[in-house]
């Protein structure tokens, strides 16, 4: 077979999918063959320490949580950008390092500003 450059990647991908779907399929076959599914109103009810759960959990949350989530998101995305930079780190000229440093410092400066404005202190 002509050496297809990306064949190992495809094989790996298929193996990964098979590795995930395989046990699920086995469990499904087992349930179908041996142990029947028995859902019921009381079994599917929301578990709240043995009581019937009153009220609703879809509640409007305190805005403070969203601030935390946004700040986390920013730094999480930053890490994603750092990954390719880290992989090719040895072959990069100095200029690329400086550019990435600028990107990093921009974000750190944002964090310092947020900290100084007491956004991170939980009220």
């Amino acid at each position: 077979m002509t050496n297809v450059p990306y064949l190992p990647v495809v094989v790996l991908l298929l193996a990964a999918v098979a590795f995930a779907v395989g046990p699920l399929a086995l469990a499904w076959v087992w349930a179908w063959k041996f142990s029947p599914r028995k859902p019921g109103p009381s079994k599917n009810a929301i578990y709240e320490c043995g009581l019937e759960s009153k009220g609703d959990a879809w509640v409007q949350f305190h805005p403070g949580y969203y601030l935390y989530a946004i700040i986390f998101l920013v730094f999480d995305v930053e890490a994603v950008f750092l990954l390719p930079f880290a992989v090719a780190f040895t072959g990069l000229p100095l200029g690329a390092g400086i550019a990435m440093l600028v990107f990093l410092l921009l974000l750190v400066e944002g964090l310092v500003w947020a900290w100084q404005k007491k956004v991170l202190v939980w009220s």
Binding site: G50, L51, G55, D56, A57, H62
Partner: protein, 389 residues
């Protein structure tokens, strides 16, 4: 109950904006219900949360209401003694002592010397066992899942061995009688107890070094659930929780029941009344009860363990009433008995220390996070058998 749009109706509308929500986000009503890893048994707290902060907390109990007082009304006086083991099922010997003390006060029975010493030895061992178990459960509530509890239960097992060889049962000793004890110390029990008491300082040292200066524990407990002195007294809180707020009230020193006045021991007091003080008070009280234990083990006299004259079978006290109380490990445990001359008590009432200490739970928890509620409840040390009776 409440639909998603408007807040929980049970909450009085805050006057500032009686509109829908106060711009802070709605309130979530959740019940930390009867089956919950943190509630030390079947205790339920209906908590109304604003995000993480507790806005309201209503304790609900009665899930272990086993009608001990109703059963006692058609049981003989002696027949209720095994039921007292199942009140506060971690410290059964102090429950027995409280009940025996109340009946001795009702009928005016004297207790010989040796029985008094045995009662003090077993009561102080029970106090040690209860405080060690409490610290194990409290640290487990804070997240140290199991390790401190293993240390505490290791000591507890040795104490339970001593109780088993003395009374025949590990947890449900049913050992005290009106006027003394049921059976004398078996041979060699005293030396075993002395050998065990000698190992305790090392355990206390190890237990304290492991935990007391741990910064996670300090961060989670200092300044959490502060109980003020006046509120504690007015709410009838007793025991280590009260002394952690700085009120010097220990029934052993106030009533001087049994022969506690012969022993030299101090009563530790806290200053801030927060959860850290309640935690440290138990450590210090373990040292004090160890001091009493050593003194009692050293000079226990020989002699009868029960007054030969007292009739145990067919015991009919004269009509009248009496309220006897002791310093149980969790607080003041009292028995109020009304007798009408027959073999069964007319009214048999248990003053439960845990139930009274729960009066302050809501006021301590408001304003804290949900995770702190678990720690505050752990520091108040409740056992559902005594709360619900």
């Amino acid at each position: 109950m409440s639909t998603a749009t408007e807040p929980v109706r049970i909450l009085p509308q805050s006057p500032a904006n009686s509109g829908s929500d106060s711009g802070e986000g709605q309130l979530l009503e959740v019940s930390m219900g009867p089956q919950h890893p943190s509630t030390h048994g079947v205790f339920r707290m209906d908590v109304v949360l604003d995000g993480e902060r507790v806005v309201r907390l209503k304790p609900v109990f009665g899930y272990l209401h086993r009608n001990h007082e109703k059963i006692a009304e058609h049981e003989t006086y002696l027949g209720s003694m095994p039921y007292t083991d199942r009140l506060d099922y971690i410290c059964s010997l102090t429950n027995n002592w409280a009940y025996a003390l109340a009946v001795e006060k009702l009928a005016g029975i004297q207790v010989p010397e040796r029985a008094e010493y045995i009662r003090i030895i077993t009561a102080e061992m029970t106090r040690f066992l209860n405080h060690a178990a409490l610290i194990g459960f409290l640290t487990q509530d804070m997240g140290a899942s199991g390790t401190p509890l293993m240390y505490a239960f290791r000591e507890r097992e040795t104490i339970l061995d001593l109780f088993e060889s003395l009374t025949g049962a590990r947890m449900m000793c049913n050992y005290m009688r009106f006027g003394g004890c049921r059976v004398d110390l078996p041979a060699g029990w005293l030396d075993q107890a002395k050998k065990f008491a000698a190992t305790l300082p090392r355990f206390l040292e190890e237990f304290e070094r492991l935990l007391a200066t741990n910064e996670i524990l300090m961060a989670r407990t200092q300044g959490v659930g502060v109980l003020s002195k006046e509120f504690a007294v007015n709410a009838g809180v007793t025991g280590p929780v009260l002394r952690a707020s700085g009120v010097n009230y220990d029934v052993r020193k106030v009533d001087k029941y049994g022969i506690y006045d012969r022993f030299a021991f101090k009563v530790p007091l806290g200053e801030h009344g927060d959860t850290y003080d309640r935690y440290m008070i138990r450590l210090l009280e373990m040292r004090e009860s160890l001091k009493i234990l050593n003194q009692a083990l050293r000079d226990i006299p020989e002699g009868p363990i029960v007054d030969p004259k007292t009739k145990i079978r067919g015991f009919k006290p004269k009509p009248g009433e009496a309220y006897g109380r002791i310093e149980a490990p969790k607080g003041e445990l009292g028995f109020y008995l009304i007798s009408d001359g027959t073999a069964n008590p007319y009214r048999y009432r248990v003053r439960s220390s845990c139930m009274m200490n729960l009066t302050v739970l809501e006021d301590l928890c408001i304003g804290h996070n949900v995770a702190d509620v678990v720690v505050i409840l752990g520091s108040i040390d409740i056992v559902m058998g005594e709360v619900d009776r």
